[in-house]
Symmetry: C2
Subunit: 193 residues, 2 copies
């Protein structure tokens, strides 16, 4: 694999690519079982997602989005990493394309992989003190309306079923909703650090 | 598709199967975009998972599990639906295979789909007043040790990173950890209803 490619993390050395689609790859390998027999194991690899908590003063940039195959959702600025990009490069590109904003102050605050069978890395960045330098440049498959929300509104999104984000992140918001100390730590990681 | 097959929920009518693996299928279709052009859209479909909250008196059956390609995890009794089974049939089969227990009192308490790009249905059943009728019958790819835990221990699992369950369910436990009313409702849905 070209070294510029995004690393296919979570696959064993002997895994082979058996299908390459538009956004998914299927990998298989022979796995030795506990009784000494072999079985074909299979995982799906998916291009990483970047989620951006972009601040403007004491507010956070937020999107109402419609895509051709689903109803309206609300979400953070987010997108898919492309081959040859680092996650930070993907995050900067997505912020600029979707909102027209840039930031000089980026921090990775969380990363996780969705599961073991579906390998899907998600990177959460805080982009502080964003400023608008151009109009958004949207794909034919995106209708996005941008707005600013407060930190309290972000926390409350954990109860909104139209909020489109991995439930690992919802869980962080849920804990912040109940636990003042966790809430203050989250607020600091977004606005201060 | 054979009508005995598990329904491939969440795919449009014109989706075509482009790859069939061991546990994943990749489906594609032409999607009309907002500007009238077409693009190839892609989703992965995965066989459903059943999760079973199996009670024995005031305790819950729980597993410590090792699989050939990963470290030890703790989990509810759970497994993958096979073609031709309903989710309830899968749940009964998995409970018997993994633990040797059966129940005459099954309730579906939650179902959710993991995402939009990866279509993966998860069904959560309560199996009340389980009784052991035989020894477990494990696959070559499973090492499972069964134990009984209390409801309080189940709630606390939301903080255990080795607890292997969808984070949607972790979120329910997290809410029950902080909110007495939600906790009592969860307890009732497991032990009383």
């Amino acid at each position: 694999m070209d070294k510029k490619n995004i690393p296919r993390k979570g696959l064993p050395e002997n895994a082979k690519l058996v299908f390459k689609g538009v956004i998914f790859e299927v990998w298989q390998w022979e796995q030795k079982m506990f009784d000494g027999t072999n079985a074909t194991f299979e995982k799906v690899w998916r291009f990483p997602t970047v989620e951006i908590i972009a601040t403007v003063g004491d507010k956070i940039l937020f999107e109402k989005q419609t895509q051709p195959d689903r109803d309206e959702t609300v979400n953070l600025v987010s997108g898919r990493g492309d081959e040859g990009e680092t996650p930070l490069e993907s995050a900067k590109r997505e912020l600029l394309e979707e909102t027209g904003y840039i930031s000089d102050n980026w921090n990775l605050i969380l990363e996780h992989q969705m599961g073991t069978k579906v390998l899907h890395d998600i990177y959460y960045y805080v982009a502080k003190d964003c400023r608008k330098i151009q109009e958004p440049n949207l794909d034919a498959g995106e209708k996005i309306e941008t707005k600013l929300i407060t930190f309290e509104e972000l926390i409350d999104l954990s109860q909104n079923p139209r909020f489109w984000v991995a439930s690992q992140f919802v869980n962080i918001l849920t804990e912040a909703r109940y636990d003042e100390k966790k809430k203050e730590n989250l607020r600091k990681s977004i606005f201060e650090e």
